[in-house]
Amino acid sequence: MANEVLKVEHLEKYYQKKHVLHDINFSISKGEVITLLGPSGSGKSTLIRCLNGLEDFRNGEITFENKKVIPNEKNWQQLRQKIGMVFQSYDLFPNLTVLDNILLGPTKVQKRNVDEVKQEVDELLEKVDLLDYKNVYPRQLSGGQKQRIAIVRALALHPEFMLFDEVTASLDPEMVRGVLNIIQDLADEDDMTMIIVTHEMNFAQQIADRVLFLKDGSILEDTPGKEFFKNPATDQAKEFLQSMNF
C-alpha cells in the first residue's frame, strides 16, 4: 500500500515462557484510526508497547514508513520522535513544570529553537484550554488536566503516528470527555494516524476506521469500525460487546 505508515508481520511476544502475542499481522495507512479492543489481559497494551519499542518481541517484523525497523534501542529512540505515545497514568515529570515537560522533547531531543517551540506550545495549550497552567507543576493538576498535558507533550514532537494506551482508564468520569475530544479533534482536523486502546465503546465506535479485536493474544477480527459494532463476526467479539453493555 502506497501510504502505509506501519506494518506488523508475524509478531510474537513471550514473557518468559508465556506466549502473550500470537502471529500478529496488520497494517495502518496514513490518517487511519484503529481502535484496539478486547478483554483485559488480551495483550492490547503489550501490542502497542511493542510498536514503539517499550517491549521487545520475538520473531516478526515491524515496518515503519516502508523501512524495516531493526529493533535496537538506538533505532527506537529515533523512531519515538515520530511515534508518539500517551499512557494510562499520564506520567508527567513531577520535577518539571508543565511548560518544561512539553519543551523537553522538542528542544533537547530535536534541538529545535526554544522560542519557536514555546510559541507552538502556547497554541497547543490554548487548544486544550490549559494555557494558564503553563508554569505550574504537575502535582497541581487534576488527572484530566495531566492527561491533556501528556497529549500535548507527545504532539509537540510533531509525531506522524500516535499510540494511546487506555488514556482515560484512570480518569474520573467527568474528565473523560475532555481528553477524548482532543483525540477526536486530532482525527478530524489533523488527520492523525492513530492506534487507540480503549474501553470507551461509544468513543471507539465513533472514531474507529477499523477495529482490531484481540483475545488471548491473537487478532480475531480486523474489521471496518461500523461493521464491527453492528455485526461482529466472531462469537468472542459478540460476547465482548455484550459484556461492555454494547
Binding site: 519515538r80 499512557f87 506520567d91 513531577p94
Partner: protein, 219 residues
Amino acid sequence: MSFEIIKQSLPMFQQGFILTLYLSLIGIVGSAIVGIICSLVQYFKIPVLDKVLQVYIEISRNTPLLIQLFFLYYAFPAMGIKMSAQLCGIIGLIFLGGSYMAAGFSGGFNGVSKKQVESGKAIGLNRWQLARYVVFPQGFALSIPALAANIIFLIKETSIFTVIAIPELTNTALDLIGLYYNSNEYLFVLVVAYAIILIPLSIILTLLERRVRYGTFGN
C-alpha cells in the same frame, strides 16, 4: 560533678570539637563524591569498572571502620606507605562513607518509577538525557533521607578515630580522663559536644527532607 573541672577542660574540648567538625566535613564531602561516582558507574553499567566498584562496596560495607583504620595506620607503613593519623582517618572515613553514599544515591535512582523512565523514552530521550532530566533529579530527591542518615552516621563514626590517636572529641575526653580521672565531667562534656553537633544537624536534615518531599519537587 564539678563545674570548675568542666570549665577548665573546655579549651581542650574546643580543639577536639573543631577537629571533629573538620574531619567530618572532609569525610562527608569525600564520601559524597565517591558515592556519586560509584552510583553513576552502576547506573550506566560501565563495564569492568562497575564490577571493580562492586568489590569495593562489598569490602567497605562489610568491614568495621575500626579494622579499616588499623589497616591503614599499621599495615600500610609495613608496606612502605606512611601517612599521618589524620590522613588515615580521612581516607578511612571516605572509604567507609563512599559505599554508604553510593547505596543512598543508587537507591534513589532505582526508586524512580519505571513509568517515568518509559515516559521519558516515549518522547525520544536518549540514555543520558533520560538520566539528566528525569532519573537524576527525581532520584536525588528520593535519596535525601538515606544521605541524611549517612551524614549523621559518618559524624558519629569519627569517634573511632581515637584508636589511632587523632585528638578529636572522643580522644580528647579519653585523654583527659587518663590524666585527671574526672570521668563524670569529661564524659558529660563529650556527650554534650556531640549533641551540639548532631541534634541541630538532624533537625535541619529532617526539614530539608520534608521540603524536598512536599515542596515543588514532590508528587
